[in-house]
Amino acid sequence: MARLCAVAGIGQTQYSARRDDVSIAGLLREAATRALEDAGMDWPDIEAVVVGKAPDMFEGVMMPELYLADALGCSGKPMLRVHTAGSVGGSTAIVAASLVQAGIHERVLTVSFEKQSESNAMWALTVKTPLQASVVAGAGGYFAPLVRAYMNRSGAPDDTGIRVALKDRRNALKNPYAHLRDPNMSFDTIASSPMLWDPIRLHEACPSSDGACALVLTSERSVRKTKYAPAWIHATSMRSEPTQFAGQEKVNPQSGRDCAKDVYKKAGISDPRKQIDMAEIYVPFSWFEPMWMENLGFAPVGEGWKMTYEGATALDGDMPVNCSGGVLSSNPIGASGMIRFAEAAMQVRGQAGEHQVDGARIALGHAYGGGSQFFSMWIVGSAKP
């Protein structure tokens, strides 16, 4: 019953540690303007706007979409603000898509962002609260013990994480928007970088970035003829589970497995590794590539690391993952999920430039957040579903 929804325009900002040249509004605007241009549209064409970002403490502006209404041409229009922790970029795109799928709007702009340089990411993510335990240092402090548990269970070689990081950082050299672009990054540089949250090294962790990503989503009849044909949304899915409970599987969470199963089913995919041509997945710490390969059903449990090791996830592998350089190379948290969704769409539109996977027709965008408890995914294709 749902209508088709197309990804008709994509825009990203330059990602960097500090975008000192723009205000918060200017940052979003850069991505939004590019998405509109890509879609062959202008501000009056847009019927509704959906904004996403992670905690408001990053910028110290409560519900900043209120202030951003002017910058996003929203006067007299509907505007929504989504926040589902780290998965928010993905969830925001899904909410925007459902406005088109439901037949409510023809052309929707969705933008997600984070301007982390206004404060400090470690502070904003783990603000000290009285009367609560306070021994978790930012996202790395939270996820490092889970990485260790995965290493222990899978028996993966210790350098798996280094290999993931090297692949992603090399891919980032092919992505003009990427934050970390160091041509001299080598296995040894990563291996010898300091342990921040042992077992996670500095160069195996995501940076803290300023950036925004925007998409123009439209109905079939509102697609305009532009340089690139649109990507078609084949399926979307979201799953959540509570933060912490007895018997919870933290390393290979059920919410992620359920979400993948659901999105594959809706997209008619029975063998993901064969049928999906590439994936942009949320890997903020290198070891999450093998962990999510298992969670997403690309590899049997305990064998995700083999995909990295065998080069399957490389740009020229049989299941390329994070050809853009991924979250490991650019991480404006609120936008990171939408960047994954956007990069997946860029691949099936053939607009990924130097990091294009030849002949990509079906791609997966993936985001997760909270304590590995919020998942959002979409599958996009070059052909209509």
Partner: protein, 338 residues
Amino acid sequence: MSEIVSEEGGILTAPHVLEYPYRRSVGPVLGRFFTELRAGRIVGLRTQQGRVLAPPQEYDPETGAATGSDFVEIGPGGVVTTWSWVVRPRAKQPLDRPFAWALVKLDGADTAMLHAVDAGDLSRMRTGMRVRPRWRAERVGHIHDIECFEPEPQATADNGLGGERQRAGELAMAEEAQKPVTNIKTPMRLEYRYSAGIATSRFLHGIAQGKILGQRCPSCSKVYVPPRGSCPRCAVATEEEVELSDKGTITTYAIVRVPSESIDVPLPFASVHVLLDGADLPMFSVVQECPLDQIRMGMRVQAVWVPREQLGPTLQSIRYFKPIDEPDVPAEKLQETV
């Protein structure tokens, strides 16, 4: 600890401060506005439709178009279009005595800006009155460069404060004024009284007596610690209290070597998940009295408490966990409790 108060029903509350010295890059449009403020001038921005927006907006609220760079000097005087009277000013507000908030349409502008008006008394305020800015002597390129607005002398009796400062404001700030303003500081400090809620308060009262109290789910019988008053798995409230051992097993860990503003433990330290004996999910803590390279999954540990007389309703009553001389728990037994 003295700041923790036990309120009605034994519920604990404590002060919580959300504070950060945000530093904002302002972009070219606002940058120009702040640069001019520093020089003691106010500029608006003329849109393509010919409206003068003041203060300048980066994007035209009516059309969504970028507003460009057609800056025009406006004011400094203007007219109050509406106002409210603050009886008891808050500490962060521009004036420490009763004052007005007003929307001021500056001469030459088509929109109004919000600022404070120092009128002395409510009776001196009215819509349509003329006001002028009172400049701060030391200006940095910030909205605070205008200390406030004040009634123009012809409209009301001059209180004598305005003229001097205005003249001071007209003195160009020599070299500093050459560099455009690109950043502003907007510190934030919000003070809260945080309440721990029922379950956490009970747990902390137990800690104050040297006891670790968990809660058992009436539906799945799993034991939670620290208890949160519910079993998220079953979505039911938990009430039955269970006293737990202060011994447990490390299910996984990380060695933290990076500083964080939220943590007081000296670096590096072992951040661990400890499954207390009798509990069904681990709690987060730290391990000490153990070389970092000897920490391992399955290792048996025990809480080290502060001296009895220092016990209080806070997690700091458990200083850390230390290794104990018991055989490790095999890894396969810990699969479900990372």
